[in-house]
Subunit: 327 residues, 2 copies
Amino acid sequence: MHILIIGAAGMIGRKLTENLARRGTLRDQQISRLTLADIVQPDAPETTFPVATIALDLTTPASAKRLIATRPDVIFQLAAVVSGEAEADFDKGYAVNLDGTRHLLEAIRQEGLREPYLPRLVFTSSIAVFGEPLPAAIPDDQLHTPLTSYGTQKAICELLLADYSRRGLVDGIGIRLPTIVVRPGKPNKAASGFFSSIIREPLVGFEAILPVDESVRHWFASPRAAVGFLLHAAELDTAPLGQRRNLSMPGLSATVGEEIAALERIAGSKARALIRHQHDPAIANMVAGWPQNFDTRRAIELGFRAEQSFDEIIEAHIEDELGGRIA
Amino acid sequence: MHILIIGAAGMIGRKLTENLARRGTLRDQQISRLTLADIVQPDAPETTFPVATIALDLTTPASAKRLIATRPDVIFQLAAVVSGEAEADFDKGYAVNLDGTRHLLEAIRQEGLREPYLPRLVFTSSIAVFGEPLPAAIPDDQLHTPLTSYGTQKAICELLLADYSRRGLVDGIGIRLPTIVVRPGKPNKAASGFFSSIIREPLVGFEAILPVDESVRHWFASPRAAVGFLLHAAELDTAPLGQRRNLSMPGLSATVGEEIAALERIAGSKARALIRHQHDPAIANMVAGWPQNFDTRRAIELGFRAEQSFDEIIEAHIEDELGGRIA
């Protein structure tokens, strides 16, 4: 079982890598080889199996060809430019988020023309494929009307993944992740960063800024749940998916107020007091157009699972990032 | 008013060209220049204004750049490989139907970066963006689940058109044409060809083969209606479209039996007798997954109009193609 992770240096990529290193198996098979690729050299974990780390420009056909020439059995395609950056840099967003995945699909097809090859490809899509007008709970058959270039690029890759899979050129599955909280480490350029920082920073005694009202509702899952989605997507039988190869992952619909109440239950009023309200109209406007809740019955029927409360999400962060202890 | 038609040598392109030559105006402005481009040299009509005809490979960035360097005010992008060919030739389908339109959008953006430029781009999409499961009448917010590479390519171009328009890089509108009947001339490679031939051939005394049951229902408009859609899409105010730049055109939902009954009303039982039933399971299977009816209220509210009966469709064919007379 040879596994390739593209975008392995990112937050989810690192957590997926650690998980695979710990378990040592996928689909009831020993992992014989793990290849970690990203635009920067990913860190190699300690493993009982060989790990290769590769830094390469994912936007060129040659990079995709080089990665696929090693014929991995399971490929995780996590590499992406985040929404804010894809909006600010038109060319980079399309090059990474559209062409990067298209080159990968095409390299898989070309390898299969040379000698039969049908790897499982797990692609991380996004709820940014959805845009206004949105129902209170977004169903599995909601039309894709992205309001950002990032969402457009993800929606296009979903279509490509489905067509390549329909034609038997790849065994693809696209999963639309909820907003991942609590993101560890430093903020990235995503406008959604505050959903994490208002938990992460107070838990270690730092102040965090809340740029929106507490009534704002959004859709969440933990990094731990995200890794669970990826592993399940790599292992499940794709036959029941039929031609519908992309699906919204389960998550938790919660308001910022509910998020803060969970923080207070777990870390007390001193943690809550570290959240400073500082309204940012630009961020508030963006967030107002975002999905608030989903009806993800297809994913749930297929066995995908997320947290049921924000308390669980915060506790997962404390266990996974803070060694189980808070100040 | 400089107009560019890409795909001008095709059936709809020729009819649009003839119409523009006759009317001499668009958007209440005199047409000062008409550029006709296709993979083969299009015919130039007799006009009171200059016409340039260009044969070029639409799948290269250089071709798109060359066409856009002349800064047309209105661009009709009709060029496409039909569904059967896009399914049979993977590379050609993606090169023409996806990359051709993407290069065009990108050439427009680059021209706009050089000097402000915001042309109206009318793109012909297709009802092939929809696939099973389908409701009895497909609404404007139906999810795109194409079951062919052709439908995938059209759905992707719709997303690109919407994103480039949202960012103010083009003033785009995508229109999903019904199946166009009665197509004049020789059959093309489309599996839908029989819908036309069972009318066209008997009207001139020839036999035609019907490969499906008379109960098959589908969605139709005439070539004349299609030209009307294109002209209206070029002239309408796009502001009411908001971020939803693509829409299904109105049409007529009819069964093959209703189609044949209209033929008999207009051309008698001798015409009907020229239709030979010869079941083709491959075609019947394909057609079974196609849309049967639409609820196109957005397009109707925006002023798009199609035929109300199959008699009208046949009469338009007799007027436009047979000089108003049948044998």
